[in-house]
């Protein structure tokens, strides 16, 4: 799935979450699966307290983490967001016209 920088990412309402030892734990209701995010994943998840565009997420990650390779991080963050959508942790929608 190709993401557009204008796509809007929103957390699902059917999840439970807690910050545990500086890593975010997220449980999805439909399968009771527990997911644990790494440092960057936790940062992105916390950004998503309110819906955010894919572009804004890239920018925030680049600003927060030093020495990020823009091209590589774009790919990795995109993959992470798509994996979150597959796990039903978030929804990704095109911007409202």
């Amino acid at each position: 799935m190709a993401l557009s920088p204008l796509d809007v990412v929103s957390r699902s309402t059917r999840i439970a979450q807690r910050l545990f030892e500086e890593r975010m734990l997220v449980i999805t209701a439909q399968d009771s699966q527990l997911h644990r995010f790494n440092e960057v994943g936790t940062f992105i998840w916390q950004l998503l307290e309110k819906p955010m565009t894919v572009g804004a997420i890239f920018t925030a990650v680049e600003e927060h983490f030093d020495g990020v390779d823009a091209g590589k991080s774009f790919q990795e963050i995109g993959d992470f967001l798509v994996s979150l959508e597959k796990k039903k942790c978030v929804s990704i929608c095109p911007p409202k016209q």
């Binding site: 309402t13 999840i15 439970a16 807690r18 545990f20 449980i27 527990l34 644990r36």
Partner: protein
């Protein structure tokens, strides 16, 4: 050694650091049924905490790192503010589970619970047929209502568990209930551990060792290697008072709802004051020093020890052996030996 799941890894860390990851909240001791084995029949009912107080407790638990919250009773749906309490819990992002007899729920209540994003609901069944179930629940028509609730939950997309306690009164029902759960699109959870309603003696409804063998074999418990704990030295201990605890309807914090050692009351103190107080530290130390007979037991690797059951069966000696669980471990050991032949 098999790789530990994320949930196991998190629980081990929580237990080491005394983070109350999982909390069971009993919202009321009142119940509309009169189940034959209930150990709460003689519990003093008292005033239940208000929903506002529960809201305050949820805020404290979220700060303490709690992730899993289970609501039970009594019957939690007897509280008119129950859905508001669930809503307050969900506003703090807990993974909420509910245990109920299901007889009081309506389709609209289940729809609201579904929209609140609860994790699962467990419904208690004593039997797969209405005659025996109604007899054991003490209320005619209860089976039909519980089954109706199960269907509401499954239709609403909520993970639903058929919960069952195998006893002398319903011994042949477990396999039929397992089939029923499967047919209805739900999960099945059962065991033969029953907390006695009279202190100092095992419940008269606990199945005997031969029945345990039949039950464990039928449920394929004995053939699953994962049933045996990875570290034998851990079989006797549990996480009560470390990564899990209970809160009674009157606000008493206890290591586990089945182990009624009062650690402090949330109407008088904050959760963190109670959790880090010397009384709890003392309990954790005591938990490491169980009865020597258990420590030296030759079949301890088959034990599914529960301090709560030991407490009730021995009238308070929770560090001692539990006759019911010794019998269960014996059944497991027997199955293991016959499998090895």
């Amino acid at each position: 050694m098999p790789t530990k799941t994320i949930a196991q890894q998190v629980n081990i860390k929580a237990s080491k650091k005394n983070i109350p990851l999982s909390v069971l909240c009993e919202l009321t001791y009142r119940c509309n049924l009169s189940c034959y084995y209930c150990y709460q029949k003689n519990v003093s009912k008292g005033n239940d905490l208000t929903s506002a107080k529960w809201g305050d407790i949820f805020k404290q638990l979220a700060r303490m790192g709690t992730l899993y919250l289970t609501f039970s009773g009594g019957e939690p749906f007897l509280r008119k503010d129950f859905l508001d309490i669930v809503s307050a819990a969900r506003s703090h992002d807990f993974a909420v589970s509910i245990i109920s007899n299901g007889t009081l729920v309506t389709k609209n209540m289940i729809k609201r619970l579904s929209s609140l994003g609860i994790m699962d609901i467990g419904l208690s069944f004593h039997a797969a047929g209405k005659d025996l179930h109604d007899k054991l629940s003490g209320k005619k028509g209860s089976f039909d209502k519980t089954l109706r609730a199960l269907r509401f939950c499954v239709d609403a997309g909520i993970k639903t568990l058929v919960k069952h306690s195998v006893s002398t009164e319903n011994f042949k029902e477990f396999s039929m209930l397992a089939d029923m759960a499967d047919k209805e699109g739900s999960f099945f959870e059962c065991d033969g551990n029953i907390i006695p309603h009279e202190r100092g003696v095992p419940s008269p409804f606990v199945i005997n060792q031969s029945q345990y063998k039949i039950f464990l074999k039928a449920m394929k418990v004995a053939s699953l290697p994962r049933f045996f704990k990875a570290n034998n030295s851990d079989t006797l201990h549990c996480d009560a008072g470390r990564s899990l605890c209970g809160i009674t309807p009157q606000g008493e914090v206890v290591p586990c709802v089945q182990l009624p050692i009062k650690l402090g009351n949330l109407q008088k103190k904050s959760f963190s004051e109670i959790w880090y107080a010397p009384a709890v530290t003392k309990f954790r130390t005591q938990e490491k020093n169980l009865d020597k007979a258990c420590e030296r037991c030759g079949i301890r690797q088959f034990c599914s020890r529960c301090h709560g059951i030991a407490f009730h069966e021995t009238d308070g000696n929770w560090q001692g052996a539990s006759p019911c669980l010794c019998s269960r471990a014996g059944a497991m050991a027997g199955l293991s030996r016959s499998k090895g032949k």
